[in-house]
Symmetry: C2
DNA sequence: CTACTGCATTAATGTAGATTAAGAAACGTT
DNA sequence: AACGTTTCTTAATCTACATTAATGCAGTAG
């Protein structure tokens, strides 16, 4: 368990590494993402201050997630195996699962517009801090599609 | 913690209930699913023998998941708060998260065909045990689309 | 056996979002 | 300030999948 200062753009964890760390974000902003077989980047989560981020390493092998810094950040790095299993950690995991569940349901049932509305509602702060194309990547759509979604929203509020 | 026998079609948990149980499947097959605002059903997971299934209830409130039996089943019901936080349980959760992560990445990056291929690879047994329309619901596509995907696969293997 | 009901398949038509491309705006670097 | 680089927007075209609808096929009940 140690404190790190990372610069914007710095990579904390490469895909496929077996070392399994957990990062608590004290300040700044991290993200985790994967690169699919077609070479496209998909943002899996954003982690602003007070969040925790980790890859999904299991006993079965590594998960293909990168973690990097979108802003200069202070993070506390901890090894997963030293985390213990206090019920506090347990709760955090349960909460994270809930977010993932919701995300899956949204991907299956909601349109790009609905997913964007939900994103803005849940993470209003993030929209100001990251480029649009990353929000598009999080939503599972292209930056072009996000752009049209946003203009539709503007025109709607005229009515 | 008690053992239950449930009949095919029986509902173990309704959406919105606050009671938070975990079910270990001894034999048979359960599923969890949600119904979206448009009234469409989306299968969240299948749980054959030796799996565990639960809703996503958190401190923040209930998750909108139903759980029911697709086959006559024997299950062990346990209250979440009595689970303790042994590292065994912890590991199970981590594994589940891994599955969810993979699913999200697939939904964002893979076509219907690729998702089906992956499903068959990971859950070959399930394809024989549930109706096609439920597999479609799990994959996030319509039964019609799944039907064409399957015929494409057949024609491909001719070549 | 016939009639009903739910499921699977196939085909037509429609649509959300991808792709491609080109111009405009914002940003970092010297 | 002036440059290249990245990001954002807009529009035209394309494609994967949804929707709708018709048909065939079990399974089940009378």
């Amino acid at each position: 368990m140690k404190k790190l200062s990372v610069k914007k753009g710095e990579i904390l964890q490469h895909s496929g590494e077996l070392i399994s760390k957990v990062y608590y974000v004290v300040s700044g902003l991290l993200r985790s993402y994967s690169i699919d077989p077609k070479g496209k980047e998909h943002i899996f989560m954003f982690a602003p201050e007070d969040w925790m981020i980790a890859d999904g390493v299991t006993v079965d092998g590594p998960m293909e997630l990168f973690i990097d810094a979108l802003e200069d950040s202070e993070v506390i790095q901890q090894d997963k195996k030293d985390m213990g299993d206090s019920s506090h950690q347990f709760d955090k995991l349960i909460k994270r699962m809930h977010v993932l569940q919701k995300r899956i349901i949204m991907l299956m049932s909601a349109t790009a517009i609905e997913r964007y509305e939900y994103f803005v509602e849940v993470y209003p702060a993030i929209t100001q801090r990251v480029p649009q194309k990353m929000i598009a990547s999080y939503l599972g759509i292209t930056p072009e599609a996000l752009s049209t979604v946003k203009s539709q929203r503007l025109h709607k509020s005229d009515s």
